[in-house]
Symmetry: C2
Subunit: 227 residues, 2 copies
């Protein structure tokens, strides 16, 4: 029987490539998406559904964890705080960090995986070439896997897979193109939902990745973006 | 300045005693409650609010994680499945297990703790004298603390405290009485919300604890309960 996995699919480039990888490895894929009151919630949900349709995957779960917006502490969920647009600063956690967001997301993925009988959870976390969020570090996922060994029923086994964790954004672009991932359907911008702003950390990292890979980013950006 | 902590307060006896302990240790306490579509959701929420009022704690957060009911896999959230009433069977995980529930709950507690600046999370998990849920084992909490060391910003530190993990239910009853915890306001029954059933695992464990402590349980039980 085909092994099942859950892919955490935000609708961004990285999670789209993680989906493509899980499919290429022969998994029977179920897709999980989270709405958490982030600025581009609706646009990301559209990207999620577009990518699911592209792959004809109907095992989908969309979970509302708007409590993360109520809890606050992030410019990504709080419109009164500004999102950084000056580029990633090494060693500094940007205001867009959502406290322990990935812990919340993985826990939901684990609950669903237990019920589905999935043996793996794919997440497109990137450590080096990223915004510097603590819950995107490889060690976090290593420890989460140890937690799962301790906290699941003894006859169950679920492994978190982070196939992109040490890749550069350029590597991810190249891998996506190689796997025919629908990068044109993805959305990465933190603050706009019609044309990407081109200046938030997420846009900058993405644009630089495409530039370094020598490939044109297929999505629309606002005119006069600095890259 | 007084250290802050978050207490996970379901409204049951164990979490009530965990609250009493956190207060007795001098913490500035914030209370977290989760609705997850369990059978006695409303009754547990009442117990939570009653206990908060008793202690005059106004820093409260109630989070709806009804997605756990949607995900399913448990008789506690699925009315079409029966709750065990024959007593705990050693080595067997009962149908009331909610897949990875405590991972979900702790993750929310961590997100809130980060924003509050709390340094500890109290949870009334009990390992031995319990229903045998894998996410109530001490090792699960040890590993969760390691996860927090890896997954939080480097300048933050949050510790999960499980002060009841190795206590018997009788010990917990005695400790609650000693600390003047409002055990009369707590609710433990898995299936009834007016008078406790007396026969579900949770009622049985509770009643045996009171019996062994030689103290009368102050809440109401249905007539003819077998203990």
């Amino acid at each position: 029987m085909q092994s099942k996995c859950v892919v955490v699919l935000s609708g961004g480039m990285d999670s789209c490539v993680a989906t493509a990888l899980a499919i290429s490895q022969g998994y029977d894929v179920a897709l999980l998406h989270l709405n958490y009151g982030q600025r581009t919630e609706k646009r990301e949900l559209k990207a999620f559904n577009d990518i699911a349709d592209y792959y004809k995957i109907d095992k989908k779960l969309v979970v509302d964890i708007g409590y993360l917006k109520d809890i606050g502490g992030s410019s990504l969920t709080d419109a009164s705080r500004a999102v950084e647009t000056g580029g990633v600063e090494k060693g500094k956690i940007p205001s867009t960090y959502v406290p322990f967001r990935n812990g919340n997301i993985l826990s939901i993925a684990v609950s669903w995986s237990e019920v589905l009988g999935a043996s793996a959870i794919f997440i497109g976390a990137v450590e080096e070439d990223s915004s510097g969020y603590p819950d995107c570090r490889e060690l976090f996922y290593t420890k989460f896997n140890e937690l799962l060994k301790a906290g699941l029923p003894d006859n169950e086994s679920i492994q978190i897979a982070t196939p992109l964790i040490h890749k550069s954004k350029a590597d991810i672009v190249r891998l996506g193109v190689e796997l025919n991932a629908p990068l044109h359907l993805t959305w990465s911008c933190y603050q706009a939902d019609d044309e990407a702003c081109g200046v938030c950390d997420s846009c900058r990292l993405r644009l630089r990745g495409f530039e370094q890979a020598g490939i044109k980013d297929p999505i629309l950006y606002r005119p006069l973006s600095p890259l």
